[in-house]
């Protein structure tokens, strides 16, 4: 059991809509994993499921989540809280909303740290002017500052696993990098594993050890960051990397992915990407792909082996 986090075949429904359709993810202790996907791909649901933080409308239909070997879905409330307190940390997308708006920052930290904790030190650790920030209310902070506070709160107990759901999506580019610096530095220092949920494949690839790409509620490809970005094994990964305007060379027309992302209301009969996939065959529509090892990556694609080499051209 050297894996810190194991998600196996997780299926989650919201009412009739299917958010996760059998997602698998593994994170080893001390590693940083970027989970990339577009909206609706299920990455936020996956993030919430890791901490068993799903809203009540969500139903776990199948699968399992283990953190440090403990089966999250079966834990009793008190054990769950103990585990969250000791081993998990969460950072969310909207930094200001993730702080209690009615409470000064210092007091919020004090509540988390307990009477003996050093509020000033924890604020200083995330690069904040403790004296000024501690007495401020969240709405008086900038987004970047608030996110640092949220990070301080999440990292206060030096968790084993930090789940960061688009922590910088609402921040400006310059601030973004600095906040990420703080997160990764603190994690490295504490030996914390990171699961970073993002829609930005290049950004994730730059910082993480490994990348997992989600589509249609499944992790369709995972592997070392450089490999996934450099030599995608799944046609979707390749298309995603290729369609970003930022990647386009001057004067070259973009090659968009045709069609639209899937909306699932039950298990996908085949590969969810099939309708948009230029390489799709008949079986892709009717047969759910099983994981295939291609190079250093695991991919959910019937044709992954055939396509080695072809996809690189796209990127």
């Amino acid at each position: 059991m050297n894996e810190l986090l194991e998600v196996d075949g997780l299926v989650v429904d919201y009412g009739r809509a299917r958010a996760l359709d059998g997602a698998d993810l593994r994170v080893a202790a001390g590693r940083t994993v970027g989970v990339v996907g577009e909206s609706g791909s299920g990455k936020s649901t996956l993030g919430a499921a890791i901490g068993r933080l799903l809203p009540r409308q969500a139903r776990v239909e199948a699968g399992e989540v283990r953190v440090g070997g403990e089966r999250m879905l079966d834990l009793r409330p008190a054990e769950l809280r103990r585990l969250r307190r000791g081993r998990l940390g969460f950072v969310f997308q909207d930094p200001i909303a993730s702080l209690d708006p009615t409470m000064r920052v210092g007091r919020q930290l004090r509540l988390v740290l307990g009477r003996r904790g050093d509020v000033a030190a924890h604020l200083a650790r995330v690069g904040l002017d403790a004296a000024r920030v501690a007495s401020a209310y969240p709405h008086q902070l900038s987004g970047g500052m608030a996110q640092r506070v949220a990070i301080a709160l999440a990292m206060a107990a030096s968790p084993e696993l930090l789940v960061a759901d688009e922590p910088t999506a609402s921040l400006d580019a310059q601030v973004r990098e600095k906040v990420l610096d703080v997160v990764f530095a603190l994690a490295a220092e504490a030996g914390t594993s990171i699961v970073w949920l993002s829609h930005d494949l290049p950004a994730v690839a730059r910082r993480c050890d490994r990348v997992a790409v989600m589509y249609g509620g499944r992790v369709v490809e995972s592997g070392p960051a450089a490999a996934v970005l450099g030599a995608p094994a799944h046609p979707y990964t390749a298309a995603l990397a290729g369609s970003a305007p930022a990647a386009a060379a001057p004067g070259v027309r973009l090659r968009p992915v045709p069609g639209r992302p899937p909306v699932l209301t039950g298990p996908s009969p085949g590969c969810a990407f099939e309708p948009r996939c230029p390489f799709a065959e008949e079986r892709c529509a009717v047969e759910r792909p099983a994981p295939v090892r291609v190079g250093e990556q695991d991919a959910l694609c019937h044709r992954a082996a055939d396509l080695v080499g072809e996809l690189e051209v796209v990127a």
Partner: protein, 274 residues
């Protein structure tokens, strides 16, 4: 249009309400007899000829309860329609235009809001003379402040949406913007608040008639019947049980239905603290 799918409880509320409407419609054709006719001895318990008993004048209670439901529902829903129309107009205008118009409308609303409902209703009844018109006007004045506020808030939100801006950019004039874009999109709020206003209306009508300022006998309304039944509670409990139960049922089913409607129009997640 999304299909209006409601939870079982709300459906039960709706069914209940429809039943009451049916009852009220029955009274239009005197399905259970003339509500004013003296049909038997005074204060008889339920029996053949008077299935819910007779009242202090020897009239059958059943047709009176039916007439009462009809009067109360008709009055309250007419009042709510008026409220909805006025609130929609003022709320949308105040919410979309803002500025001094907004200030003026909201100040008037605040003035109305500051009156305790029943005191306001009593004043109206005293001015208009007691009766249906007074009850109607009272319900309107009592329900209008809250609805206008909420419609305004909804209109403020809608006013900021892109399709409204796009229409303005296209050169659409105010009536078109309000009529085609703002109003239809605050309709949900109006519908939800309308149901709550309906239950408030029924309650106000009852209270007002109870104090003698509302619907006047011999016309029956739920308030009138409860008022009459109240004095006979000891000797002839059947006089109050019928109208009382119907009143509570009406308000309850409307509220429950309103809750369902709101959950539909403004669905919200629930989260566990565990």
């Amino acid at each position: 249009m999304k299909k209006l799918r409601l939870d079982p409880l709300s459906l039960a509320g709706l069914a209940c309400l429809l039943l009451l409407v049916l009852l009220a419609l029955g009274s239009l054709v005197d399905a259970a007899g003339d509500p004013d006719a003296i049909v038997g001895p005074r204060l008889r318990p339920p029996g053949p000829g008077w299935w819910l008993g007779t009242d202090n004048l020897g009239r059958s209670v059943l047709p009176r309860v039916m007439e009462g439901v009809g009067t109360t529902l008709l009055l309250s829903s007419a009042a709510v329609l008026v409220t909805a129309a006025l609130s929609a107009g003022f709320g949308v205008l105040a919410g979309y235009r803002g500025g001094y118009l907004n200030e003026l409308i909201m100040r008037v609303v605040e003035v109305l809001y500051s009156f305790p409902a029943i005191v306001l209703a009593v004043l109206v009844a005293a001015v208009a003379g007691p009766g249906q018109l007074a009850a109607l006007a009272s319900i309107v004045l009592v329900t209008i402040p809250l609805m206008t506020r909420l419609v305004r808030a909804a209109a403020v939100a809608v006013a900021g949406r892109d399709y409204v801006t796009a229409a303005v950019i296209s050169g659409a004039r105010l009536p078109r913007v309000l009529g085609r874009h703002v109003l239809p999109n605050v309709a949900g709020t109006i519908a939800v608040q309308g149901t709550y206003a309906l239950s408030v209306g029924i309650s106000v009508e009852g209270g007002l008639s109870f104090l003698g300022f509302g619907v006047q006998p011999p016309q029956a309304s739920l308030g009138v019947l409860i008022r009459q039944g109240g004095t006979y509670m000891m000797a002839a409990p059947w006089l109050i049980i019928g109208p009382g139960a119907v009143l509570v049922l009406a308000i309850l089913s409307i509220n429950v239905f309103g809750d369902g409607l709101r959950d539909r129009f403004e669905p919200r997640e629930t989260r566990s603290l565990v």
